[in-house]
């Protein structure tokens, strides 16, 4: 495992891992002051201002003697090879490779890395492993090969397995693992490659405290670390402090950086002498680590490490792609459920009833075990939920404590203690208010997800208070976790918010529809009032006339002239007939409001001709010219439409009584989503001033003896057309005729009444 350990995190986090003041002794370090060069072009004259105290092991020069010397005096001929490469404008965030060179002709080769630290150029020399070109020739195909293989891997686990296999083969480490961090920082082993004799950690978890915070930060900066031999004796820096700043030298970018003694102890406790870790950085975050262990010390050249680092980067990129694709897939799935849901929600008229019908989809939407809706005193629950009073209390608590559009917790009992009582079904809660005004909630419950963690060693294991000492046991230790549910996925939360917005939109639309409905009801009510008004006025009149003329007949019996008596009798008869007709008309009118429409395709031409035929007896003694255009078919209720048509045609016949010849035209217009029919006559017409009264119940624009009728015909026409979703209107110039028009939509409205 990487450096540092469990134990006291506070102490651990204060471990000065960036400024250990020492390096691992398998190489040496020297820092150059590139200012004050006698010849700016010749950096071999740069002065050495800081060295590692193992300098003599490699150069034979005492460290103290090297300080203040020119570079070439310390490393000899190698200085001339390096001089052109020594610049302060090195990349800031990593050490760069300068060259492989020998200090003395024919002597051992060193890989030289350089990085800049507070104005100093820091050179690190580590013994090179073999021929550079040969190793590059061997290493780079590995990368290409790995790229091919990992592209075929589907899951993150498969990719990780490929990576550990590759790195194990490349480096010879006895144990290579990939582990990922969860949101609490605990690491879980996803893949491992083991040589014989190495214990496996597959599936186990390493506590977050194994890697203290400052180590994680450093891992983001410097993505690969190697400890060749945990039993090393660190080589200190001379002088210990940075010659320019006077502070401890920051070795963050140094590949030879010495690690914490606590970590070395941890490694020894684990039976590991060599370790390497490679950061897996996904979207700027430390997603996980590629971690390598070996029971004995192991050397790895800079080039080997670089290839390992590249493999790690490739893995991280693929993980990111895979995670993106998984995320996308997941979102698509959730969105598909949401679309189904919304479809269900707009089916019927009662919003709450609609919600009830989509309960199973609601469950699936949030991958929940139970769902509840609290709307005023109505509570609908489905699946595995707390009981009603518990849900109400929870909603009450939410209204006081959560003012967000969305509340979620995977451990409800921790913030709302009463929930501990029903942790089995509601350890997880996702709740959202579904009204902007009222405290209405939609609640999703997730059951307790009791799971066990196989810790690689007890996380709390310590030697003693305050002692900074690594844990010694890595034996698997099983912990059961209670009271929590499966976590709420980010995508779920986002889509839940989206769902809420849509839901509020639907509710708003419902409210508008309700308002429309209320308006429509108001209109129907008004019609009903007009109806009863008519009954009291128009129905009473003929009765009064019957009584009046009967009284007159009786009192004048015998002594009146017969002509007058005959007229009274005629009046009585017509009044009685009118009363009967009024009752019939009123009944038909009210029926028209109730009977269901049965729309079919209608050939309008045939229907018009049928009506004209029926009307023939009414104008037997007159000349009437009919002009009927070719008329399109419509979808409508045939019985009702015929009634409307008959009314209009009969009106046209009636009001052309004085015209000779009467000319009646029936025409049509096809508009974008409706057909309009016109019935035009050359009759008496009407004054447009009174057009608003034309279609009212028992409204007449003419004297009764001029044109008979009860005044209900056009009210019927309007009602029939409006129930088909169409409109009626009329135009006229008095004395020149009138045109009555109505429209029938291509797709009739679903019958509302």
């Amino acid at each position: 495992m990487p450096e540092a350990t469990s134990a006291d995190i506070a102490t651990c986090e204060s471990e000065p891992i960036r400024i250990p003041g020492a390096i691992q002794p398998h190489g040496f370090l020297l820092s150059l002051d590139l200012s004050h060069l006698p010849d700016a072009a010749d950096a071999s004259a740069a002065r050495v201002v800081q060295v590692s105290d193992n300098l003599a092991d490699f150069t034979g020069m005492a460290p103290a003697a090297a300080l203040g010397q020119q570079l070439r005096a310390v490393i000899g001929a190698a200085a001339d090879q390096l001089a052109p490469l020594l610049r302060l404008d090195q990349a800031r965030d990593r050490a760069s490779f300068l060259a492989t060179t020998a200090l003395d002709a024919g002597g051992p080769q060193f890989d030289v890395l350089a990085h800049v630290c507070d104005g100093l150029l820091v050179l690190e020399f580590e013994p090179a492993a073999g021929n550079l070109e040969a190793s590059l020739h061997r290493l780079y195909p590995v990368v290409g090969d790995f790229l091919n293989k990992i592209n075929d891997a589907d899951s993150i686990a498969d990719m990780s397995q490929l990576a550990v296999n590759e790195i194990a083969a490349l480096t010879g480490f006895g144990r290579v693992m990939v582990y990922s961090f969860d949101k609490d920082g605990h690491g879980t082993v996803l893949a491992e490659a083991l040589q014989d004799g190495y214990e496996g950690y597959m599936g186990q978890r390493f506590p977050a405290s194994d890697i203290p915070r400052q180590a994680r930060e450093l891992y983001l900066l410097n993505r690969i670390r190697l400890i060749q031999d945990a039993n090393y004796t660190p080589a200190g820096l001379l002088p210990a402090m940075h010659p320019f700043t006077g502070r401890a030298t920051d070795l963050s970018l140094a590949s030879l950086r010495s690690v914490s003694p606590v970590h070395l102890q941890y490694m020894r406790n684990m039976g590991t002498l060599a370790s390497m870790s490679i950061s897996l950085v996904v979207e700027g975050k430390l997603w996980g680590l590629l971690s390598c262990h070996h029971a004995t010390s192991r050397r790895l050249s800079y080039h080997q490490r670089t290839v390992c680092e590249q493999l790690g980067q490739i893995l991280a990129l693929r993980i990111r792609n895979r995670a993106d694709a998984d995320e996308l897939q997941f979102r698509l799935e959730v969105r598909r459920v949401m679309v189904n849901l919304l479809g269900g929600l707009t089916q019927g008229t009662d919003f709450i009833e609609n919600l009830r019908t989509v309960m199973p989809e609601l469950l699936r939407f949030a991958r929940a075990g139970g769902v509840a809706i609290v709307i005023d005193d109505r509570l609908i629950s489905f699946g595995d939920t707390p009981d009603d009073s518990q849900i109400r209390q929870l909603a009450g608590w939410l209204s006081l404590h959560s003012h967000e559009d969305l509340f979620h917790s995977a451990h409800l009992g921790a913030i709302y203690p009463p929930a501990a009582a029903y942790a089995h079904c509601a350890s997880g809660l996702l709740a959202m208010p579904i009204s902007r005004i009222h405290q209405h909630y939609l609640l999703w419950f997730r059951p307790e997800h009791v799971y066990t963690i196989d810790w690689a060693g007890r996380p709390q294991d310590k030697r003693g208070p305050g002692a900074l000492s690594p844990r010694t046991s890595f034996e698997s230790w099983r912990e059961a976790v209670h009271g929590t549910s499966a976590p709420w996925h980010d995508a779920e939360l986002e889509l839940a918010l989206e769902f809420r917005t849509t839901l509020l939109g639907i509710a708003l639309e419902r409210a508008e529809q309700m308002a429309d409905l209320a308006e429509e009801l108001g209109r129907a009510n008004k019609e009903l009032e007009a109806f009863s008004y008519s009954v009291s006025h128009d129905l009473r009149a003929p009765l009064r006339h019957i009584v009046g003329f009967s009284d007159l007949l009786m009192e004048t019996a015998g002594n009146d002239n017969p002509e007058r008596r005959l007229r009274f009798l005629t009046n009585i008869k017509t009044s009685a007939r009118l009363a009967g007709k009024l009752v019939d008309d009123l009944l038909s009118f009210s029926q028209m409001g109730r009977a269901a429409l049965r729309p079919v395709r209608i050939r309008m031409g045939e229907m018009v001709n049928g009506c004209i035929e029926r009307l023939t007896p009414e104008y037997a003694s007159r000349r009437v010219e009919w002009h009927v255009d070719t008329l399109p078919d419509v979808i409508a209720d045939p019985a009702f439409l015929q009634l409307a048509l008959y009314n209009l045609l009969s009106n046209a016949v009636k009001f052309t009584a004085q015209s000779d010849p009467a000319v009646i035209r029936i025409t049509s217009e096809k508009l974008s989503n409706e057909v309009v029919f016109h019935v035009a006559d050359n009759g008496v017409g009407f004054n447009m001033e009174y057009v608003h009264k034309l279609f009212g119940v028992f409204q007449r624009l003419h004297r009764m003896e001029d044109f008979n009728g009860t005044g209900i015909g056009l009210a019927n026409v309007r009602r029939i057309v409006e129930r088909h979703g169409g409109r009626v209107w009329a135009r006229s110039v008095p004395g020149e005729g009138a045109t009555f028009s109505f429209s029938i939509p291509d797709t009739p409205l679903p019958d509302k009444e």
Partner: protein, 151 residues
């Protein structure tokens, strides 16, 4: 010398019965009959078909509530809205006891509201009472002209 009574009635049977009732009340006033609200207003405004009539308001308007084109309430509203007509006595005659009509009529300043009784004798009595009160007993507002019945 008596101003006429303006009867506004569209229904021929009602018209006949009302005329008989007026005849029986033995009022000397001439009865002028118009058949809808629009004609009534033309008569009162001395325009249209009535442009040539002698000027002067009738003694009383007997106004049926339900009329073609312009109904009784609309006629009443226009009378009350016009400076030369607004003090004219108006009696609303109607078939029904609909409260809304009654309220609306009084809001518009009707002088009397009569539901036509079904019994004819009662109807005669009601019409004759109305005629006597509004056409004979009631002092017309100052400034109105006496109407001389043409011979």
């Amino acid at each position: 010398m008596l101003k006429p009574i303006l009867l506004v009635e569209d229904n021929p049977h009602d018209l006949e019965l009302t005329l008989i009732a007026l005849e029986r009340s033995q009022l000397a006033n001439e009865v002028i009959v118009v058949r809808d609200g629009a004609d009534a207003l033309d008569y009162l405004h001395v325009r249209g078909a009535f442009a040539d009539r002698d000027h002067g308001n009738p003694a009383v308007v007997l106004l049926d509530l339900k009329l073609p084109k312009v109904d009784g309430l609309e006629v009443l509203a226009e009378i009350r809205d016009n400076p030369t007509l607004k003090s004219l006595p108006v009696v609303m005659l109607t078939s029904s006891r609909e409260e809304q009509d009654l309220i609306r009529s009084y809001e518009l300043g009707v002088n009397a509201y009569v539901v036509k009784p079904v019994d004819f004798q009662e109807f005669v009595r009601a019409i004759s009472d109305l005629g006597i009160f509004w056409a004979v007993l009631n002092e017309p507002p100052p400034g109105s002209q006496r109407y001389i019945k043409p011979q």
